[in-house]
């Protein structure tokens, strides 16, 4: 099919309809609502309950207009948010119809009679649709002389959302969002008539991972966020478009800053990614930056063993001296921007002359290394493929916990057309329950996939020997589309930037001489190291057995890797690039402060491989991006990498482009069955969206809505152990143990699941691994 034919086909598929609104013709696709057809003409019909992403309600009646079709007028004004356009339709809005104008003014008056006059202390004041529309369409003086409806105000419906029922106009946006978009109908309309109100069941708070969206779409100040309440006036804030640093979903964001401080973050609009939503972590977890002590200036460890403040030149010189001529590796956290990761990649190859670089501060394997360097950059699966999928397979991946916007997209299709979902999880998470996922124990048992199916592989699949290979086999055999969805925002970009031993930037295999020559030429160096590099665990191991002398480490929490990682750093020269003081800065020889996301520009690559660029939110920040600091160290070492700014780095990345040669082939590994013995159980874990992750530090309102840690086991197992629901069990490995209340679930008798990094359940610290064999007894 030629592009022209394709275009014709699309046009034929969508019937276009022409209507006249206030005397102007507009042509829109069939099914378009009158209110939106009017928007196309720039005619704003006032509204409250209408929201383009929610099913029409027709509840507030603010958008009444006069309509006639084929010369026949509706006897009364119609809600333009519920009526789709039709041929020969003539619409008269408040601009041309006195009836519509009076109808709207009447509704506005009704909405205001019971609305409190507390705009001066309302968070929404200044950005309130009710306030704005009351100004434009309301009466200057109220005709209402009666008694207003009063409620206790505000009430907490979760630790992070407050409800002021007096302000509520009962548009049901929040309740429709919770039910239709998030699948969390924990807030509903309760009571009836004039007493109708938004509410929860008293014992069950509004603990949805997406609750913040209701605050954002509330057209009045009825729902407010506890953390932002009374903090700012909208007109005092400077808004900057940004990207979310929390996960690989890739949400567009808006960051609102006042005098160098983030006051709030909101979901940005991007119809191809997050539509208009985000998760509560993305919205509310931004205090990590201020919750711990910020590294204020460069620091050098003195003879006394303590860190001392130093000037930039001193610190750079100290770092350079410690690295120059040494055998050194590089550990980049998975949250680096594309530009910073590129800086680390180039620094390793050019300044340190090594391929010992890895971005994986988490459990990893050789199989995964091979998968990441051969398969991932070639994956082209996108959100659109989920929209069109006939089946979605989740492997080592819990979308609601690990990439919440991916969850929303799947859920949307589930509601729309009962999309089938399959998961290899040993037990159904709440997300799986909502997606009605069919659980399978074995990837090889999945059948019936087609080229329209989508296989979403999470980073955890690499923890199971042979599983990534099985997933690739499944995709190859069925023709299904494959995607790899890591948990952290920087991981895909880190691979593309070559922050991994096997790849140079642009997906160029280190093993290919031509690739090395290519990059060496672009970087104006004679040659690049050809020796195979080490992975994160190999670098750490090399540090203790003295095969490496030094390490450059940025944005890594050692406890994400293993419970021994930190101690492995102790006897080497450690250069730490960090935002706040941490376990690593505590053992580093030199600490170099770097900029946080809001203080710098840059980009992430979301799981689709799309760039999510963002600008500095704090324009006058003095903090520097990692790449700039690395460039200074390299200069000092006499091996410049010439990346003085983020912008220069981005230009260089663009100029270098992507590898057009053959990719490395994926070395598959066969599956190893681990059989539990009679006494031991197989423990599986994953992180919950809200847990002890460091980027959630300092946000207690958000933390209050985290799901409580439980150990999930089967009913039979619970009976065997002699425990009831909610009673404690002790779970132990050779390295340690933890105690959790039991949650009886449908699962195999020898399987146990616990959260990976929640209160009372930090499995790397407590058990020494993330999945493995444990002994379980009644505590």
């Amino acid at each position: 099919m030629t592009p022209e034919q394709a275009l014709l086909e699309t046009q034929a598929a969508v019937e276009m309809i022409t209507v006249v609104i206030d005397g102007f013709e507009v042509t829109v696709p069939k099914g378009t609502l009158v209110i939106r057809a009017a928007e196309k003409l720039g005619i704003q019909i006032p509204r409250f309950c209408d929201h383009p992403l929610l099913e029409p309600a027709g509840a507030c009646r603010q958008c009444l207009v006069d309509i006639e079709i084929n010369g026949r007028a509706f006897p009364k004004p119609q809600a333009s948010c519920t009526i789709p356009v039709e041929n020969n339709m003539i619409v008269k809005t408040q601009l041309t119809s006195p009836v519509a104008e009076k109808a709207q003014a009447g509704i506005m008056e009704f909405l205001l009679i019971n609305h409190p006059l507390d705009c001066p202390v309302c968070d929404k004041g200044g950005e309130c649709p009710l306030q704005n529309q009351a100004m434009s369409a309301g009466r200057p003086e109220s005709r209402f002389e009666g008694v207003k409806r009063t409620f206790e105000k505000p009430v907490s419906i979760s630790s992070q959302v407050l409800l002021d029922r007096e302000r509520c106009v009962l548009c049901a946006r929040c309740t429709r969002f919770s039910e239709q978009i998030a699948g969390d109908p924990f807030i509903t309309l309760i009571e009836r008539g004039a007493l109708q109100q938004v509410g929860i069941y008293e014992e069950d708070p509004f603990e949805s991972y997406y609750s913040g969206n209701t605050v954002q779409i509330c057209p009045v100040g009825a729902l407010t966020g506890a953390s932002y309440r009374f903090r700012a006036r909208p007109f005092d804030l400077v808004s900057v478009d940004s990207a979310c640093e929390h996960c690989a979903s890739g949400c567009a964001m808006r960051t609102d800053i006042r005098r160098g401080k983030t006051l709030r973050r909101l979901a940005g609009d991007d119809s191809s990614v997050n539509e208009e939503w985000n998760c509560d972590k993305g919205r509310w977890a931004f205090k990590y930056l201020t919750s711990r002590e910020r590294v204020a200036s460069p620091m050098i460890r003195g003879e006394d063993g303590e860190l001392h403040e130093a000037s930039w030149p001193e610190a750079i010189a100290f770092a350079a001296a410690g690295l120059k001529g040494k055998r050194a590796g590089v550990l980049v956290g998975g949250r680096a921007t594309v530009e910073d990761a590129y800086g680390y990649s180039k620094f390793a190859r050019v300044a340190l002359g090594t391929n010992d670089i890895d971005f994986r501060s988490r459990p990893h394997s050789d199989e995964e290394s091979s998968f990441l360097s051969s398969v991932v950059l070639g994956l082209k699966t996108t959100y659109k493929d989920i929209d069109k999928a006939d089946q979605v397979v989740l492997l080592g991946f819990e979308p609601e916990e690990e990439s919440p916007i991916v969850f929303l997209r799947i859920y949307k299709q589930l509601r729309k057309r009962a999309l089938a979902v399959i998961s290899d999880a040993p037990v159904a998470s709440r997300g799986s329950v909502k997606l009605k996922a069919q659980l399978v124990s074995d990837i090889s048992s999945i059948s019936g996939l087609t080229s329209k199916s989508v296989i979403l592989v999470g980073e955890r699949l690499g923890e199971k020997v042979g599983a990534l290979s099985a997933a690739v086999d499944l995709a190859e055999k069925s023709g299904a589309k494959l995607a790899w969805i890591p948990r952290r925002a920087g991981e895909r970009g880190a691979i593309a930037s070559g922050a991994i031993a096997t790849l140079l930037p642009g997906g160029r295999p280190v093993s290919q001489a031509s690739a090395r020559v290519d990059v060496a030429a672009a970087w104006a160096v004679d040659s690049l190291p050809a020796n195979p590099g080490r992975s994160t665990s190999e670098i750490l191991h090399a540090l203790i057995v003295n095969n490496l002398d030094a390490v450059v480490i940025g944005g890594v929490d050692p406890l994400d890797i293993s419970n021994t990682a930190l101690s492995q750093l102790l006897n080497s020269f450690v250069v730490s690039l960090e935002i706040t003081h941490s376990a690593v800065t505590a053992v580093a020889d030199v600490v170099l402060p770097v900029a946080a996301v809001i203080e710098k520009s840059g980009s992430f690559q979301d799981w689709q491989g799309s760039a999510r660029t963002f600008e500095k939110a704090i324009a006058d920040s003095l903090s520097r991006s990692d790449v700039r600091i690395l460039s200074m160290i390299a200069d000092e070492m006499g091996t410049p990498i010439n990346l003085p700014t983020v912008a220069a780095t981005a230009r260089e990345i663009a100029a270098l482009g992507n590898w057009d040669g053959a990719a490395i082939s994926f070395e598959k590994t066969s599956t190893v069955k681990t059989l539990a013995t009679e006494e031991k159980m197989n423990l599986t874990s994953w992180r919950l969206l809200l847990d002890l992750g460091t980027l959630q530090d300092g946000e207690t309102n958000l933390a209050g809505t985290a799901r409580k840690a439980t150990a999930r086991i089967s009913k039979t197992k619970a009976e065997k152990l002699g425990v009831n629901e909610g009673e404690l069990i002790s779970i132990s490995s050779d390295l340690g143990s933890l105690k959790l209340p039991v949650e009886i679930s449908e699962m195999s008798d020898n399987e146990i699941w616990v959260p990976r990094n929640s209160i009372d359940s930090q499995v790397i610290a407590n058990l020494g691994f993330v999945n493995g064999q444990v002994t379980v007894v009644k505590a």
Binding site: P56, A57, G58, A59, C60, R61, Q62, L64, P75, K76, P77, T82, K102, A103, G106, I107, E109, F110, L111, I113, N114, R143, F144, G146, V147, R149, V169, L170, L189, E191, R192, G193, A194, L195, Q196
Partner: protein
């Protein structure tokens, strides 16, 4: 010969009229045999031809409603009976079901057969527990008699019938609110389209009919279209139940051809309370604009009442004599609509809140003439602006009472309060209030 035509009520005076034996003895369950021998479409045609119109208030032709159900669509179809009788003044379905639940069941079997439904529901208001007992027992007995369940009458027609109790919500009389309620949601009206005939109960094609409409079906099938058309007026065919209540000497149910007048009914009922005279009345429940003694000779059919500026509604004739304060009556009706507003849409929810306060002030003598203008303006901002017709019903008594009794509103202000003695309007002023 009176003009009365007892058909539905013909056997109500039998002591066992509500039992299956009693109903059969009175000729019950003969129509179903006849209908099951017909093609379903022929049944629909017959009901269409009869001219039977919905007895629940709107008067939509019952046969046409049945005809809207798409056939051959491989979907389940449902028949839902609206037995949520709650409109103030309306009291016809309740005594009908108490006295003869089987006539409804027979109508349901015929209607379900016609629209090819294999599951029907009766949504019965919850506050009438003895009626629930009677209907439930009737259903159980009909199952035992092979009139419900599998292969009814050996004709290969299957029908399940479920009785569902409401729980106190007038709005569930609105058919889409009823469907939401039956599905286990709050009884709030749905957007239309889609109409129930296309996507009703569980999003499947559904007919929602009033009790009296369905109960009228067996007689039509049994006695024929011509017989039915001998009763009533040109566009309002057949017999119906008129419920007379209030300040009359003998209130009660009067089954008569459509088109009878209030004057005729009052004559049968021994007139307005002795010593008093008619002041105002509703032709079909509180949401139909009120009439006065000028309207005694209006034919009580769909067209006649409509031409006089009101609606036939449920034929609930509530009679108020001159002892009744029309402001008080209107206030109380408005309080009812405020209480029953589902809360979904702004004009109804907020408007009734406001109207009640204004009417209370007027009743207390605190209202002014300017308030009457404001009151009418508010009614104008509510009527036709709300999601469903409940709010239209709420303003109907206000607008109509102001039309006929404007000065009585002002008299309250002049008098510094209500000029009526509430005891005078009670039935027991001499037996101790």
């Amino acid at each position: 010969m009176s003009k009365l035509t007892p058909v539905l009520s013909a056997n109500w005076d039998d002591k066992d009229s509500f039992t299956i034996e009693g109903y059969k003895r009175a000729g019950g369950y003969q129509a179903v045999t006849k209908a099951l021998a017909m093609e379903p479409d022929a049944v629909i045609t017959m009901i269409k031809d009869s001219g039977l119109r919905g007895r629940g208030g709107a008067g939509f032709p019952t046969g046409s409603k049945w005809g809207f159900i798409p056939q051959g669509d491989n979907k389940e179809h449902y028949l839902v009976v609206n037995a949520d009788e709650s409109e103030p003044g309306t009291c016809k379905d309740t005594p009908l079901l108490l006295a003869n639940p089987h006539v409804l069941i027979e109508g349901i079997i015929i209607g379900s057969y016609a629209i090819r439904a294999n599951h029907a529901f009766i949504y019965l208001r919850g506050e009438i527990v003895h009626v629930y007992r009677r209907v439930q027992q009737a259903i159980e007995d009909a199952y035992k008699a092979g009139l419900l369940g599998k292969n009814i009458g050996g004709k290969g027609f299957d029908l399940e019938l479920t009785l569902h109790a409401g729980a106190g919500a007038y709005i569930c009389g609105e058919e889409t609110a009823l469907l939401d309620s039956l599905e286990g949601f709050r009884g709030q009206p749905r957007l239309r389209p889609p109409f129930p005939a296309i996507a009703g109960l569980y999003a499947k094609p559904t007919v929602v009919n009033n009790v009296e409409s369905i109960a009228s079906v067996p007689a039509i099938i049994k006695n024929g279209v011509e017989w039915f058309q001998t009763m009533g007026t040109e566009k309002s065919k057949g017999f119906t139940l008129y419920s007379l209540s209030g300040h009359v000497n003998n209130p009660g149910q009067f089954e008569a051809p459509l088109g009878i007048t209030l004057r005729e009914i009052l004559e049968l009922a021994g007139g307005v309370r002795t010593g008093h005279k008619l002041k105002f009345w509703t032709p079909g429940g509180s949401s139909t604009p009120m009439f006065t003694d000028e309207h005694l000779d209006i034919p009580l059919d769909y067209e006649g009442v409509s031409a006089a500026g009101s609606m036939l509604g449920t034929k609930a004739l509530q009679i108020f004599d001159e002892t009744t304060c029309v402001v008080r009556a209107t206030l109380r009706w408005c309080e009812f609509y405020k209480h029953e507003s589902c809360g979904k849409c702004t004009p109804c929810r907020e408007g009734t809140w406001w109207l009640v306060q204004m009417l209370q002030d007027l009743e207390d003598g605190k209202g002014t003439e300017a308030d009457l203008t404001k009151l009418l303006d508010l009614c104008d901002n509510i009527a036709g602006r709300s999601f469903c017709a409940l709010a239209d019903g709420a303003v109907a008594p206000i607008i109509s009472s102001l039309k006929y009794f404007r000065d009585e509103y002002l008299e309250h202000q002049r008098n510094g309060g209500c000029p009526f003695d509430p005891v005078a309007s009670t039935l027991f002023k001499t037996v101790g209030a």
